[in-house]
Subunit: 251 residues, 2 copies
């Protein structure tokens, strides 16, 4: 069975035999698509991590349930994301569809065989793991030090950037997730999220397009949003100085 799997991996992924692009997307391209209904889980925390998944369409939330029953969302998955790479035996979290989602899956062994046999795939995997770690770091900084307003603005700014980089001509972010999802992701309560957004509307920073569609938000003042997000990069200049000070102090 092991050998069969391995052979299949070599056949379907080709390891370069078919001249496929050396990227992960190509690996999944030939797998059948699967669909998840909103609220349906892709896998559960604690389950044996048998597959790696690529998200083709839709959005998923990745979360853990803690002892008091609350939910902590550690990230969202969007089209193009791969989930399950940086895991060992078991899934560390549950992944659940927010919208209807289209995904493809690959058995772990098959995935690993393909990656082991291709430099290009290895680089792609490494790059994605690096991005994942960078995102985790940013989230730690956000949770450790930012106010509710800064968290919300950082969140919107991230989605605004995504929308613009995907060619959107208008500064409008479509948020598939609920206010509760945002709260669980940002380490806040739903009330604080709601209140903060109301306050941002009051300041003229953003606006809800249509009361009917509270998930579409137009950013009226992107510059102000960036400021309120509170990670101005003009502090980089200060860092060396601060650290130099620290060293001087210590000696």
């Amino acid at each position: 069975m092991f050998l069969t799997d391995y052979a299949k991996a070599l056949n379907t992924t080709g390891a370069g035999l078919y001249g496929e692009p050396d990227c992960l997307h190509g690996l999944f391209a030939k797998q059948p698509a699967e669909y998840l209904a909103p609220g349906q889980a892709l896998f559960f925390e604690g389950d044996e991590a048998r597959h790696i998944f690529e998200v083709i369409e839709g959005t998923l939330r990745v979360f853990r349930i803690i002892s008091d029953g609350r939910r902590v969302i550690t990230g969202f998955l969007h089209a193009g994301d791969i989930v399950g790479v940086s895991l060992r035996n078991d899934y560390l979290y549950t992944a659940e569809a927010i919208t209807t989602a289209k995904i493809r899956r690959l058995p772990r062994r098959q995935f690993e065989a393909a990656v082991a046999s291709s430099d290009g795939l290895r680089q792609d995997v490494l790059a994605r793991v690096c991005d994942e770690m960078a995102a985790a770091q940013d989230q730690m900084v956000l949770l450790a030090s930012k106010s509710a307003e800064e968290r919300i603005c950082t969140f919107f700014q991230k989605y605004l950037r995504r929308a613009l980089s995907e060619g959107s001509l208008q500064p409008v972010v479509e948020l598939p997730m609920s206010r509760q999802d945002m709260a669980d992701y940002l380490g806040l309560t739903i009330e604080t999220v709601s209140r903060t957004i109301t306050r941002l509307i009051g300041k003229g920073v953003l606006n809800v397009l249509d009361p009917t569609a509270r998930h579409s938000i137009r950013i009226e003042r992107p510059g102000m949003l960036a400021q309120l997000a509170g990670d101005d990069d003009d502090c980089i200049d200060m860092r060396r100085d601060l650290q130099a000070q620290g060293e001087r102090r210590r000696h």
Copy 2:
């Protein structure tokens, strides 16, 4: 020059030629040791990530300075830890010695060549990256949802586990870092850290061994510490039920 590096990598690491153990530690073993004084930086956030490091002795803090000048510590490094793997072009954070530290370094290219040529090394790298992601997840959960007391207890518990697994016969944790370091790591202020520890001493959970050495802490009631840390695992049973409920609710 590229070829030289690559050849050197193959020579020194052997890719199995010399039968070295297929682990990362072996990769670094032949590099010269370097020493860092307390407070000295190993590298700075934003620097080009030219090397991978292994910590041989001592403790380092890994942190970022945010725009308002505060410091967010995202982790500590101890003997046996490798730093710099899950990075791309630049270091995302500064790494700085807390105690005198002994480290070894390997040029990035050399490291990558060695890893590319050895299945064993690849597995080791993957395992470490997985651990790093798991730790980041745990930290996000801690920062998003735990009270000051829970954070402190979680922190002590982690160090207690480490001490016991390293063969310590007494429930004593030696904390090389300052209260300020703990605060910046746990997303609290130094005052809150201090007050919380005082309160825990009052409850009889722990004790500071010697006023002279405030960094040595004896855990008087490990069980109570675990409870107060607030991540009882008896909630796993509930998770399925809760999630099943969620699905029922949605349909």
